[in-house]
Amino acid sequence: MNDAAAKLLGAGLAMGLGAIGPGVGLGIMIGKALESIARQPEVAGDVRTNMFIGIGVTEAVALYAFVVALILIFVA
């Protein structure tokens, strides 16, 4: 397999496999936030704020995989 093909394959694998973990994690976290809002609606504002912080941190992990894919395609 030549260099360019290996790089593209690596980029595809990096992004694809790297999006599994954050996807599952986001689903669990947002589900729990929805449950807690349904259980106690008066803390909805606090729960929502902390949920957004959690979303930001978790999606960053998926974006590290994206950056690795970009590096493989354009830089390496």
Binding site: F52, I55, A60, V67, F74
Partner: protein, 284 residues
Amino acid sequence: MRHPWRWIVGLLVLGFLILLAILPGGAKQQFEVAGEFQREVLIKLPTVGPFDLSVTKTVAYLWLTVAVVVVVAIAIARSLKLQPGRFQYAMEAMYELARDGIVGGVMKSGKKQWFPYIGGAFFFVLTCNLIGLIPLPFGEHHQTAFYAATANLNVTLMLALCTFLFTHYAGVRKNGALRYVKAWAPSGAPPVLKQIIWLIHVVSEIFRLISLSVRLFANMVAGHAILAVFFAMALIFQSYLVGLALQGASVLIYMFEIFVAFIQAFIFAILSAVYIGGALDQDH
């Protein structure tokens, strides 16, 4: 057959769509997604030492963002009325979000002192992200193109570096350098484990800098790449039918990009508040 005209109109629409599908679509054009992020030099200035001072597209967008933020701030500060109009209402809502939601909701001490930085970071990053969604003629060869200043790792690295420096400055100023650094290891831990935890904390502090900058950068780059692909998908597929079918999808993904712009500015500001608040209230 009741309502025959409905069947006729339906057949005409179907025929039109089939015609669109089989027509050879457009001229054969290449489309490079990476061309959106090229940095073209606009005004060439001399190089001072290791720094190349020439004005690139990113620098022009940053100046534009600063101009917009300053003009909007001066305009709203000079026209405050007791009964707010729509513009003042929107600005007050965002100010309240920054003051009570971000700083007030997360930091325990130092709220008044650090609100200017965190509010300023929020508004600056928000304006940068939103200006990136307006097509401006700074593209290559003076084409009209989309570009966000925050889609550049240098810009986001400098913003995250400000947060990083302010975090440690706040901690050192409050507790003194030695006590601040010593508090990174929990006090009731066995001797060897304490040093290891301290080292892990140092690594996590450095990783906060990287993650804060890369999060904003990668979100903006990914958003603009998806926008570029959706807008040009008719060129890529070379079919009119795909171009027609993707008008609605392009609008939806553009609205999602506006949402992402707000969310990323909010997350940058609130994580800065969490880090600075954590450095100020270390015995928690």
